[in-house]
Every structure is written in structure tokens, then in C-alpha cells.
Amino acid sequence: MDWVFLSELAINGALTGLLYSLFAIGLVLIYKASSVPNLAQGGLTMVGAYVVLALARDVGLPLWLAIPLAAVVMFGLGFGIERVALRRLAGRPVVMILMLTLGLDIFLRGTTLAIWGGTSRSMELGVSYDPLFFDDIFISRIHLVGAGVALALFVAFMLFFRTRTGIKLRAIADDYMASWSVGISVERGVGLSWALASVVAVAAGVIWGEIQGVDQALSLLLLKGLTVAVLGGLDSILGAVIAGIILGVVENVVSDFLDPLVGGGSRELIVAAVLILTVMIRPHGLFGRHDIERV
């Protein structure tokens, strides 16, 4: 067994995994604050990346200005989505909410591509492509940057959910009716969670856009993001981070064994398998809230 190689796989897997967490944090935010599974996060991420590029290339702003500005735009978009769409379906069965977010995803993707076209564009953050070396282990710089962003967001949101506003958001997720009864504005809370998730989408869009180019494929992160979110427990931000690392390592190491056997491309299979196994064995994930049975 080649330990150096294996640890390289594991370390790079963990870093990639943190980038999945970066995506999944958006999903978790919305679920934690409204119990809505947001299947439009892929579409949002794509829009986030395109908006950054539009500001940087088409308007000509420097990236350091374009990214925060895009975050502001997306913050507004998130609020808008709640206002226009989610508010009307609050309290409806989960099928309809799932379908709504799926429809939103299709709409966001279609509109983005209709406006900016489907050819892949590059982000050009200016992070060097030369890998870093630790002993014999290669590490990509952009992955390190992305992992750093994911961890920073993790800390920020952990703190946020302890603030009064954060507590109110968690209260909304627990019980809409009880929240209304004590004067919490459920609408504003859900809107805020979508707005924050849209900002996370900008972060994920920028990092992933740098790694794999800005195009359709960004929205395909949804499956991995969902897997990470479910494995972590859907409403746990800590869970999303840990599950991201786990998924990244498992995917990297297992696909290394499996690929030669099946002729490549086993990553997607592994992710789907992890998702199925999690739901079957431990639906509330590693750190998810249990639904408390009341007698």
C-alpha cells in the first residue's frame, strides 16, 4: 500500500469535500430556517457565478468589487424568491414545495443561459495553478482557498444562529404557526434565509467556477450538495462541514479503487450510494435534529 499516495488522495478529497460543504451550507441554511428543501440551490449557484462574471467582464469592475456586489444582488434575489414564490406555498405539502424549488431551478438555469449563453467562461480569480507541496503531497491552491472560505462561512453561520435573529429563524423552522403567534415575521425570516443562501451561492459559484469553469455544470453540484447536507443532517451546519469532508475522502479513495474495475466514472455512483445508504440507515444524518415524538 502506497501511504503517501493514499494520504494525498485523502487530503485532496477532504479539501474537495469542504468545497461540497461550501455548496451544502446554502441548502442547510434554508432548511434550518424554514424546513424547506431547496432544490434550486444548484441554479442559484450558477446564477451567482454568472452575475459575478457579468459585473466583472461586461461591466468591467475589478473582481474584488464584483464579488461583493454580486453578493448584494443575490441577497436581493433571495428575498425576491421568497416574496414571489415561497410565501404563497407556506404550509403546503412537501411535494408542492419540492416541485416549486425544482421549477425555480429550471427557470434560473434557463434564464441564465438565455441571457449569457451556454459556452463555458472562466472566472480567473488570479489564484496560481501551481500546486503546493507538503513533503510529497500535492495540494491545489484554489482548493485550499475554497476550503478556507467554507470554514469561514461555517464559523460565521454558527455564530449567526446563536444571535437573536438566528434563534428566530430556527424557531420558524420548528413551527410556523407558533412563530406567528408570538409575532415573529415568518415571511421575513424565510426571506432572510433565502437571501443568505443566495450569498453562499455566490461564494460557491466563484470557487467552483474557478475550478471547473462557469457553465451549466455548476448546477450539477446539487446531487453532491444534497448528499452532504443529508449525511450531515440537513439542518446542521457543523454536520455539513463534517459530512463534506467524509464524502470528499470516501469519493476520492473509493473511486480510486473502483474506477479501474468499472472503467472509470464511478464518482457519481459513489455519491448516489452514500445518499441512499444515509437515508436508509440514518435519515436524520450525523447531527440532524430528531423529530421529537410527543405523547
Binding site: 437573536r164 404557526m177 406567528w180 403567534s181 408570538v182 421529537i292
Partner: protein, 269 residues
Amino acid sequence: MQEKVEAQNILSMNSVEVLYDNVILAIKGVSVQVPKGEMIALLGSNGAGKSTTLKAISGLLKAERGRISRGEITFQGVDITEALAQERVEMGICHVIEGRRVFEHLTPDENLTAAAPRGMSRSTLNAEKDKIYGYFPRLAERKSSQAGYLSGGEQQMLAIGRALVTQPKLLMLDEPSLGLAPFLVEEIFGILQKINKDEGLSVLLVEQNALAALEIVSQGYLIENGRVVMHGTAEALKSNSDIQEFYLGGGETDFHNVKHYSRRKRWLS
């Protein structure tokens, strides 16, 4: 004279009709007055429309696709028939909804924080919390365990405490005694009475447990089939033979008389 009465009533609800889903008429012209600083009970059997009445007052109807189709509600002289739930809480109406719905995954302390009005300073919030823990010492003991795992009585206390954080002028409680042991009901009602005395808080109490409720309130309304069928002081209601028979469990329980119920329930025309 009329105006003077108005001024004394913190809440006045005049022939209110409520429709659910635009078709189901749940209450049909209910009028209820809550005098300032008093405790009032709404009594009635299952499905009579008690909860609907409270929801009409607190504005929670909208969440269940219901609406007020006739009548008006005024609170401290202001018409609130069209106000949002959130605005009504800000004005001082707080509704403890049926079924002890605490925020299960939050701690009791966080439950209280969640209800803090916007702009309440940290020190006021802490003072409020201390006061509530003073009323309900059991909550203080368990303030950082998960609320979903509290006992039924503790959850009810938490629900009431959570409502108090909003600094209400009118507190409405929907069946707080549901499923609680008698001594707990007594404890909770005792605390309600104390809060009512100490702070002059007006209380509108919905109860199935008429016996316990009539002990602590000054007046009661009896609702049947979406209509107020009787209104009087607690004393008068307690001594009314029909109430005694149907709600207080007094009188004969002889089953030969069961078939006379429909005849004896005089108010049901």
C-alpha cells in the same frame, strides 16, 4: 354611557363571522368583550368555535386560510380587523395556541429569546426572562435542555412564558389545561391569576375544563355551534343548572336522562 363601556373594554369583538376556505362558516356572529384587567373565559364543547374566535382576534386565521367575513374587532379602541398577526402582537395581543406548541428543538431559554419583540434591549429581555423564571421556577431549572423533551406541564408553562416575553396587554390561552394533571392545572391557573393581579394583564381563557376556569375568571361566555349562547358572571354561570349539568359534570349522571339532553339544552334553538 356607551363610550365609557368601550373605554373599559380592552378588547371588543362585535358580531364576527369567520369563513375557512371561503366556504366553512366556523363562527356566526360572535360578540365578546374583555374588560381591562379582568379574566374572561370562553367555554364550549369540541368544535364549538372557541379556537376560531381566538384566532380571529390574534390574526392567525390567515395561516389556516380563514378570514373574517363580517363584524369587527377593536383593541384599545383601535380597529384591528384587518391587521397582520405580527402587528397585533406588537399592539399587545398574544395568543398561546392550542396544543403546547413550543419550539421543540430550541432550549426553553431560546424559546423565550425567539419571542422577544424587535428592538427589545438585551437588558430588558433578561429582566423579562428573570421575571418569567420567577413565575415558573421549574423552567429555570431546565432552561438549557431541549424544549421538546420537557414534560407537558413544563411545555405549557414555557408556552405561557414565551407569550409573556412579547409584553402583552391581553393574553389569550387556548386550552392550557389540556392533558395535564389536576394539580398542574391548579398550579398554572394560580400563576395566571397572580400575573393578572400583579400586572393588570387582561386574560381571555378558552377552556374545556369549565370547573377550573370558572374558579379564576370573573365572567364567562358559552359558545355552541359558532354562536354565543350564554354570557354572565362566573357566579351566575356556576349556578346555572344547564352549565352545571353539561360542563361541570354535576347533577345526575343517570343515563335515563341522557335522552333529555337535547330538550334540556335550552339555549340550542
